[in-house]
């Protein structure tokens, strides 16, 4: 068993465990912190899969920007842990059954797939910034520009929604 194999399994266990803690921890701030651990372990998987560019983007965008936004909003809203009402036990039981059956049916779906025809020696250099940049700015240059339009509209929308209304509607 090689080092990278052990690392891959360990990162998988860490990500699943912290994902479960995100769902089941009572305090929302603990949930955010566990979600950061999950994102870091997924970033570790990206390193093992030779996707260095996405590793950096995952750390900066998810673990950095998005999680800071979550923590900021959470602390702005000042939620106590006892303010969240719980769903009934019957509903929780039904939800767990539903999620388990989704899991089992997706596993069964994957099992039905035959040979994937993966190449035995794939190009290991595709995840580098240079190669991804070449593809991004040649083949995907229009989606790249459109995503900037999406960001502008997202920013304007967030400011418009978050603005305090000057007149009370109700």
């Amino acid at each position: 068993m090689g080092v990278s194999e052990i690392l891959a399994y360990a990162l998988g266990i860490i990500s699943v465990a912290s994902a479960l803690l995100v769902v089941f921890s009572k305090n929302p701030i603990h949930s955010v912190l566990y979600l950061i651990i999950t994102f870091f372990s997924i970033a570790g998987q990206y390193v093992l899969l030779n996707a260095q560019f996405l590793f950096i983007v995952q750390i900066i965008v998810y673990s950095g920007a998005i999680m800071v936004l979550f923590l900021f909003v959470l602390m702005l809203l000042n939620l106590n842990k006892d303010t969240e009402p719980q769903k009934s036990n019957l509903f929780k039981f039904i939800s767990i059954i539903t999620a388990c059956s989704l899991f089992i049916s997706m596993i069964a779906m994957v099992k039905g797939v035959g040979n994937l025809n993966l190449p035995s020696e794939p190009d290991s250099q595709i995840g580098l910034v240079k190669n991804l940049g070449m593809v991004l700015f040649s083949k995907y240059v229009i989606p790249f520009e459109l995503s900037s339009v999406l960001f502008i509209s997202g920013m304007v929308g967030a400011v418009m929604i978050g603005k305090k209304e000057t007149h009370d509607i109700n």
Partner: protein, 106 residues
């Protein structure tokens, strides 16, 4: 680090991302706090990203990794707008409980 592709079968990544996706669905179903719901949606997006990157690396195809990049872009915009909606909702109802938002029912 490249030898992980030779040592581990791709089914490990498929099962791991299915498991993470199911945990995200479970979180959306059993929690009522809107922020936790958003976080579970992020978890589901990340599990899909992991599957994209795994297949992209195993096939030696750069298109999958660029797709993940665009998913991250859309997720960042979605979180910015969603959290603004959430702050607005808190300002109006003094709570982030999603079960209070049932005005469409009546």
């Amino acid at each position: 680090m490249t030898d992980v592709i030779r040592q581990i079968d791709i089914s490990y990544y498929v099962y791991l991302s299915i498991l993470l996706f199911s945990i995200g669905v479970l979180g959306v179903l059993i929690r009522r706090n809107a922020i936790i719901l958003f976080m579970c949606i992020e978890l589901m997006l990340n599990s899909v990203n992991l599957l994209f990157v795994a297949f992209s690396s195993y096939r030696g195809d750069a298109n999958g990794q660029l797709f993940v990049f665009f998913i991250m872009v859309v997720a960042a915009a979605e979180v910015a707008v969603g959290l603004a909606i959430l702050v607005m909702m808190y300002r109006n109802t003094k709570s982030v409980d999603v079960s209070l938002l049932d005005k469409l029912k009546n």
